[in-house]
Symmetry: D2
Subunit: 410 residues, 4 copies
């Protein structure tokens, strides 16, 4: 169970870290400062486009691109463990994941296209996604049902001749606010008495410019709209898509989403670890540079303990993520599932705790725009809900734990 | 030690509660939705002014005004315990405290004017403040020093003939963004070798339109500017004020601020309890109305425990606040001080925990603009830093605790 | 809602505190050191009897006796709030509650006899109990069922002519190891199809010397048998009692136990607060007297924070207990019930946390026989299980909280 | 960084696990039930000796012996990571570590003899220790000083001709109560102005039967004396040892103890993980077998969450221990030190939390002698103090963390 940095990935980590800290960080800050400068927060100014494209070009030129394609000939063929170390570095700065074409939800969507897409889909959507020319979204959550129980999904998808017709609302569609977002993968309800409860849903591919799609509003995360990316609330009214837009077959929606979400959750978690690590670094800098009562903060009260606890939590959470990644690499998704549930609970929690302590160590600066901490906190807070709330994942962990003891009790 | 609702205050609580929930809540939401509608987030639209002034007029007409004037002939003569119950109700909706002319920082500033102001100040500032015609700010925190150690305050205030001349920066000046803010009370450094360390600072009164004052920017709280109120970053350049603007005498700044902050902290804490109570109510509603896995959320997993823990925490925190208020009412500020430090740590912490659980119970809606929870969380989070960070207050509590055992160890 | 120390109870508190600390503490330690000195840990040596009886005589002579008889002509007529303050003092030293004839389970049992007993029972059991001549036990918990769900109680009680005949096992019968224990109040199953689920049990009075009763063993609490008091595991084999030994009527067992347990839980909780307060005092003494790295422990690392948190927790828990006591005093047991459930969770938890921190502050001495801390911890730990585990009480609190929102959801 | 089970150690783990669960567990329980059966708790009955020796003989016959000798020709040459997995299994049952001759403090003492002992010491002490014929103790902690600051150690060791003469007290000398304990390794003060603060102490070897050594009493752990092993309080009065009993040279005591404690802490921590794992297993069994309110406990309230959290904590703590072991295997003790400090804090804490939840799940049985949980809890609780209290280890972690940022701040 090698959870370490392999010789193969070591130089990549160095290159990514260096590019994230040196090249991306300052431009990422500038990019964010320009949000809304055109009068529309979901529009790119010329300078924003320039920043993003120049960084992507630089990454491509250094062959630092599409790392997430684990066991694939198209990418580096990295293992999930190896990729995890890269994801951690990319989590430290806002734009970084996109610069290396490793951002959610595109990575998951690309995997879906690669695995289940028709040749036409691969040509029309996968290719430009792999090239970083378009972006995509993944539409799962709905406003009127408890999405923690995915069988509640209710957007209708009804066969009409050679088409399917979609009706309903989705919200928290991350990235759908981006003008470059060209395609959605959408979970829909396709009920049939012939199939069991977990086979009543399907997944369809919908062009973003299909008639009948409205963006109602941007959902806010603790008051912030995350523009120009956005988490959009959308309405689908008689949206018509050709029948071959339905992936894999009716009723197989969860099969696809399960496969899709595993790696995505590991990426999210490792990026969260990256944010925790960045927060700890800021906390250490602050505590050694700022003085009160005649001493550096580090030497006051419980601050040594706070710093030590942060280090211990991060190390444990990282090792757990690496073990989950390693389980994923063993090829048995069923066996890996409870491990992914574990990190889905642990990594955001640890990151939130560490970031919150870093906020407190910074005083009023910590909650302000003068450090990345406040933004990091609200971002990571979403992870306790996205892709299943903590309670659902804990339930999965407990069920796996109890299985050897009884089949009835779970 | 009567911590209960007295017959005198009971009908007031009912009236305030009813007005907060029925009259203020919907208009408060409308008011917030209009922020920025004029193109300037720190400007009031006509409708915003209309909302605020009509509500204030209604409160005045019902004689629900200036409750905070405890032991004063001008107000109700409520005890701090009695006022605490009203503050809790006012904490539940954004605009409420201002509607009853009970909002920070005005209440504290009015107390300062009442107690230490010259007749001219009372006429020029106190009167319109008591009438709700102007607003005020309190300028303490500075960007370049650890304000947790108040002796660090460095804004200079130098005598020059009949004037004092101020230079320096202040930030997190709450309310200074409001166009109605007419006056600042400002902590300044007036060093003198003749006085001990805690007597090197003074407090001065500065008209908001004094030449040399610049508002540099609005500080953001987890990405939100709290407009039109705002927490401003300001620069004072050669700001000249007449010598009688200095309150009470040189070197007596902390004497004033200590007297000022005690009641204010109780108000803050009881409003935080109000927000916790409001969050628990939302949590209960959500958990009984929303279903997942075929059951109301309340009946799933740990949700009973989460609700019970929230109730137990709130009750304890409220009782502690009431006891601190009762200590304040006994008239010995020195004896009350460690109690106020206790609630300053406890009340925000409890409110944050309860609100966060309410967020989680609401799923993605909880972090969004669709409930008041996310805003409440970020607002209460500031209280762990404002008026002294947790660590400083814990230190005060510990020092008081250890005093009987030794004088050296503290 | 007066939660304070009344003029009436103030001198009693002083007298009790003084007697506990000065008279009882040293003799209590001697008493405990003599356990087992006769070769039988559940036997009293002459000196043990002398210690106990002389202290009881002293208490009686000072009229510090039977305080627990709230609203009764026989006692002081103290309110529950007033008694709570006394219970706190009595919680600080091992023998204290018994010295004042205020120890569990006698107080609860005496209340049962007073309220539901026949004249014969009052003469035979209540009178000597009130005089401190005998002791009693309360037999509820059974080894083979989950006693957290009290409807599981399974000891049979079958009518046979003029008698009832009991069969079954009880364990954790506190005080049943004491040779002075003369009578048991026992929960038994008396099923009847005519009565609902919560009316299938009854309560009977059983002389300790009734044939057929065996003491199987002493249950240990973290390795300690709590001799000579003991928590005994007992077997009842064809134990025959006259029919009028059944209190109040068949099926009314829970009615009695509910009434009995409310005040008892408050007493337990306030004694736990007393133990927390005693632990905090030890922690403060240690932290100011012991040095490491050239400083008193108090000034090292997080110790100020640990002390402050202990103080804040204790104050909150005490106020909550006092409020629950006040609710009890209002006379509506149904309304008071969720408050008692709250303190049943909170008070032991807080006491355990404070004691554990005190242990840690004492280093290896803390876990040893050289301080009362280790014993206090194991004793308080039982309270998280006795009279209902935490989870059951949290459930009660949540049900009460949710009631206004729905009747179905609970 | 291979943290997994190697092919080499896999069969050993299976053999050890099987022997622990099948052979040792029942006899370990019998052994403990016989403590005190001779009338002296620190004496072995014939049956106790038989049990222990027969199990040791069995282990030896299977070549399951002295695993702890990592990188040594005498043992298996296991890496610390490999050994860690074995330690976890041995932690699950009381006698197990000794059965495989892997018990503290012998393993540490044997390493000291191996590394620093004279040929005579190796013959006289190391050989019979390796054979399991005698046992040993390690005398560090003293009653009158804060041993968390090891420079406080005050037992005197004065040169007198060809001898050293020792005077002072030691307590918590684990294993010194065992009649088979033949030798002590003792930390003594040998002050010299020529040496720095951390070079004022030395380590000496003292035969247990040297004149002048008194065992004053057995220290109790939460009321338990841990007989026949014991944690003894001892007095040394003019104990005379030959000069060559001083290891390595005057002033080098800490050098030896640091080297000694690293592996020992890893062993302790992995055994604690084993106890946590055993507790979780009991919790799962109980929660699926016991019913209340008509359902298995597992399905009630927060129990799924409790089980899931236990699993997540254990996995993280184990991975951290394994990483610390791996760091140790890299050969740089200085680099490994903060990792060992991390697990020293984390592993006992996690084990205590999991065991406490298991206790609660078992109801009153959990705190009693009917499960191993209560004993396990008190045993693991000592680990938060032994070999340095949590606070000291957190301090080490923080110092290591802050080093890159400044040299002054630590």
């Amino acid at each position: 169970m090698d959870l370490g940095i392999t010789p193969r990935v070591r130089p990549l980590i160095e290159q990514v870290r260096q590019m994230v800290q040196t090249d991306i960080r300052p431009l990422s800050d500038e990019f964010l400062s320009l949000v809304g400068s055109t009068g529309n927060r979901f529009e790119y100014s010329e300078r924003q486009t320039e920043i993003l494209e120049s960084l992507k070009a630089l990454a491509k030129s250094r062959n630092l691109w599409n790392f997430w394609l684990t066991d694939s000939e198209k990418g580096y063929g990295l293992s999930t463990v190896e990729y995890a170390y890269l994801a951690e570095e990319m989590g430290k700065v806002h734009l970084a994941a996109e610069v290396f074409n490793c951002a959610a939800p595109d990575t998951g969507n690309m995997e879906v296209f690669e695995r289940y897409g028709t040749p036409e889909m691969k040509e029309r959507w996968l290719k430009p996604l792999l090239d970083g020319q378009i972006r995509s979204a993944y539409a799962m959550t709905e406003p009127d049902v408890a999405s923690s129980d995915a069988t509640n999904m209710s957007m209708t998808c009804v066969r009409d001749g050679e088409d399917y017709v979609l009706n309903g609302e989705k919200w928290w569609i991350s990235g759908a606010g981006d003008p470059r977002c060209a395609v959605y993968i959408v979970m829909v309800s396709t009920p049939s008495d012939d199939r069991p409860k977990h086979s009543q849903h399907s997944m369809v591919v919908v062009p973003a410019d299909a008639p009948g799609i409205e963006i109602l509003r941007a959902m806010e995360v603790y008051g912030h709209d995350d523009a120009p990316h956005g988490h959009m609330h959308m309405r689908f009214t008689n949206v018509r898509i050709p029948a071959d837009s339905l992936l894999l077959g009716e009723g197989r929606g969860f099969e696809i989403s399960q496969g899709r979400l595993g790696p995505g959750r590991i990426h999210h978690c490792m990026r969260a670890i990256g944010q925790a690590e960045a927060a700890l670094e800021l906390m250490c800098r602050r505590s050694t540079q700022r003085e009160a009562f005649g001493k550096p903060l580090a030497q006051l009260g419980a601050n040594f303990d706070i710093i030590a606890e942060a280090r211990m939590k991060i190390e444990q959470a990282r090792l757990l993520c690496l073990k989950a990644a390693w389980m994923m690499d063993q090829g048995d998704r069923r066996a890996a599932a409870p491990w992914i549930s574990q990190i889905k609970v642990v990594a955001p929690r640890v990151a939130l705790e560490v970031i919150d302590e870093a906020v407190q160590m910074h005083g009023a600066a910590g909650i302000s725009q003068d450090t990345p901490l406040a933004t990091a906190w609200t971002h990571v807070r979403t992870l306790r809900l996205a892709d299943g709330p903590d309670a659902v994942h804990r339930r999965q962990v407990a069920r796996a734990e109890l299985k050897p003891y009884t089949n009835q009790a779970t």
